[in-house]
């Protein structure tokens, strides 16, 4: 049995706690804008909304893999070409991510597998290493949430420094790392001891959320993997290819879609500039275009399939994990109502 260390944080002290964190860290937290929740860097504890339900509009990935990132700048001089590595600026970063959901915490574990493989991505690596995770479990499930099927929520056992559960007038705080422990101990005046009742209440809330999520069915993951392998040429993909607009929104709101393009942005002097990487989408026809114009995934069904297969098939072979966390953002966002849960059910019923 795992021994967990817990504390209680009265809600009256949350702002004070966040205020103290702001003295030492860049703080990223859920903020409400036009009724929607965004993870943003905050300057004031008042901005933080820890009462939100469900998912933020955008996943946390942009704080680890920004939508546009300068890899290096270059300067062509008479002496030669000088290159300035921009990852070095991330060495001294000190951030804390507050109010991040278990599904999104799980997504970071998937990104870790991708970016810390045979090669190590220093930009992602430094941001990740220098960011503490202060998670917040869900008190209710939203439509399209299916983390309970992906093993990424509503409860989570690791991947956080602290994990909060909203218990009404206080938070149950689970300590998940030595760094998390330090955060609590350095601010011990704000914390109270947690009761057995608190733990029981957390378990009750999370199992309620889980059973709410499971009202909508989703296939067993092994069955889904096998069904996808078997049905790559099935007719159903044409149907989705017909309606998909290839807009790429599902990729951009997905916490685990990390494909990017790399290009140079020269300055007006044409003697200096920067190399940047920007988010890209496997739904774009340009994504598989090679020199000479040949496009490998020219037909839309092949591009719809690419994303689905990457999530539930290829990534299992590649990193040993399904690269979907069941956050439901792609379903919520798709302008033509393509629903990956329905796709999963459909392919397993063939």
């Amino acid at each position: 049995m795992k021994i967990i260390e817990v504390r209680s944080l009265p809600k009256d002290f949350t702002e004070e706690f966040i205020g103290r964190l702001l003295e030492n860290f860049q703080v990223i937290a859920p903020v409400r804008r036009d009724g929607r929740i965004f993870y943003e860097r905050i300057a004031d504890p008042h901005e933080v909304d820890l009462e939100y339900t469900g998912r933020s509009q955008l996943p946390p990935k942009r704080f680890f893999l920004p939508e546009k990132e300068v890899l290096f700048t270059y300067e062509i001089t008479t002496e030669g070409i000088l290159i300035y590595d921009r990852s070095e600026e991330l060495e001294g970063l000190k951030r804390i991510f507050i109010g991040i959901r278990p599904c999104d915490i799980h997504s970071l574990k998937i990104l870790d597998k991708i970016f810390f493989g045979k090669f190590h991505d220093p930009y992602y690596g430094l941001r990740r290493k220098n960011t503490l995770i202060l998670g917040l479990t869900c008190n209710e499930a939203l439509e399209y949430c299916f983390c309970a099927y992906m093993g990424s929520g509503p409860s989570i056992e690791n991947g956080f420094d602290l994990l909060l559960t909203d218990l009404g007038d206080h938070y149950l705080v689970e300590i998940g790392s030595d760094k998390g422990k330090k955060l609590v101990y350095h601010n011990i005046d704000l914390f109270r001891s947690a009761s057995f009742e608190d733990l029981k209440e957390r378990r009750r809330i999370l199992s309620q959320v889980e059973s709410d999520i499971k009202k909508e069915p989703f296939p067993d993951l092994n069955r889904l993997y096998e069904a996808l392998l078997k049905n790559f040429r099935a007719d159903m993909w044409n149907k989705y290819g017909e309606v998909c607009l290839a807009c790429g929104k599902c990729n951009f709101v997905c916490p685990t879609c990390v494909c990017f393009d790399v290009h140079d942005d020269p300055n007006l002097d044409l003697k200096s500039g920067k190399r940047v990487r920007v988010w890209d989408s496997c739904h774009f026809i340009s994504f598989t275009r090679v020199a000479g114009g040949l496009v490998f995934r020219k037909e839309r069904p092949s591009r719809v399939k690419q994303r689905v297969y990457h999530k539930y098939c290829y990534s299992v072979d590649e990193i040993g994990m399904f690269s979907c966390v069941g956050c439901g953002r792609c379903i919520e966002t798709c302008p033509v109502n393509i629903n990956i849960m329905k796709i999963a059910r459909e392919v397993t019923s063939l």
């Binding site: 991708i114 990017f260 393009d261 290009h263 598989t288 297969y309």
Partner: protein, 270 residues
């Protein structure tokens, strides 16, 4: 830890014209030697224009310099063509898995190239020429669009002294006396024992599709057929996603794959 996105600076030592739109560039790293396995590729930076993948085409025994053969195709290659001797470019790599040159020792080697797809075969030929006794019969089948599109004309003449070279063009001209037709027509000029032969090929997907079909008909096993796949590898490290086929990263797990691997792909590779 060093940053794998930062290119090393290389100097263009020599530029040779192969065809009206194909040139070979000899590059020397400003610092250190360059080592690679035939079939591997580099990411070449032309600063201000970005980065693109190119096969290394020189002999793996040369460490002082290396070469790439480039067709002028888009923005980056057009910018590269404007650079001459002494100009500086960026180099990352080499990346990927090359040809099984060690495994092929003691066996016959059948090479099939289409168009500029002969480029990744050239370092194998160079390596075999330097270690001729270690390989059996060596055959090169090469198809180009027209006689003026044939690359490595000078080298082909030299290679003929040591290995069996067969050429064809899709469209001949008044001076062309050789074969006309796609590269598979050359199979009727050769005799191979599939049990004693490794085949390695690179060319357009359609060429590799038909060549592979032919090789299978001739009795080649899937682990004796090797192909180099072309995709747009942006990062070379399995991150950017552009080069995947059936969930496999061509940059990291390829670009060379055996047909045994490719035929198990659910997504069509060739």
């Amino acid at each position: 830890m060093s940053n794998p996105y930062i290119p090393s600076i290389a100097i263009i030592q020599e530029v040779r014209e192969e065809t009206p739109d194909i040139r070979t560039f000899r590059l020397k790293l400003k610092e250190g030697e360059f080592t690679f396995t035939p079939g591997q590729f580099i990411e070449l930076s032309v600063f201000g224009y970005g980065e693109a993948p190119f096969s290394v085409t020189s002999s793996p025994l040369d460490r002082e310099f290396f070469e790439i053969t480039v067709r002028k195709m888009g923005i980056l290659t057009s910018a590269l063509f404007k650079l001459g001797e002494g100009a500086m470019v960026g180099v990352r790599g080499p990346f990927g898995r090359g040809w099984p040159i060690e495994e092929m020792k003691g066996m016959n080697v059948l090479m099939i190239g289409g168009g500029i797809g002969i480029a990744p075969l050239k370092p194998v030929i160079e390596y075999i020429l330097a270690n001729r006794k270690e390989y059996g019969e060596v055959i090169l089948l090469y198809g180009a669009r027209t006689p003026s599109d044939i690359v490595y004309k000078r080298e082909l003449e030299e290679w003929k002294n040591t290995i069996d070279v067969h050429l064809t063009v899709d469209r001949g001209d008044e001076k062309w006396k050789g074969r006309v037709g796609v590269v598979t027509v050359l199979f009727d000029e050769i005799e191979v024992d599939p049990k004693e032969t490794y085949s390695i090929q690179c060319g357009p997907p359609i060429m590799m599709h038909f060549v592979t079909k032919k090789l299978v008909e001739l009795g080649f096993g899937g682990d004796r057929i090797f192909l180099s796949l072309e995709r747009l590898m942006k990062c070379g490290m399995g991150f950017c996603g552009h080069c995947t086929v059936s969930g496999r990263y061509v940059c990291k797990e390829g670009p060379v794959f055996s047909y045994s691997e490719i035929k198990n792909f659910i997504e069509t590779a060739i």
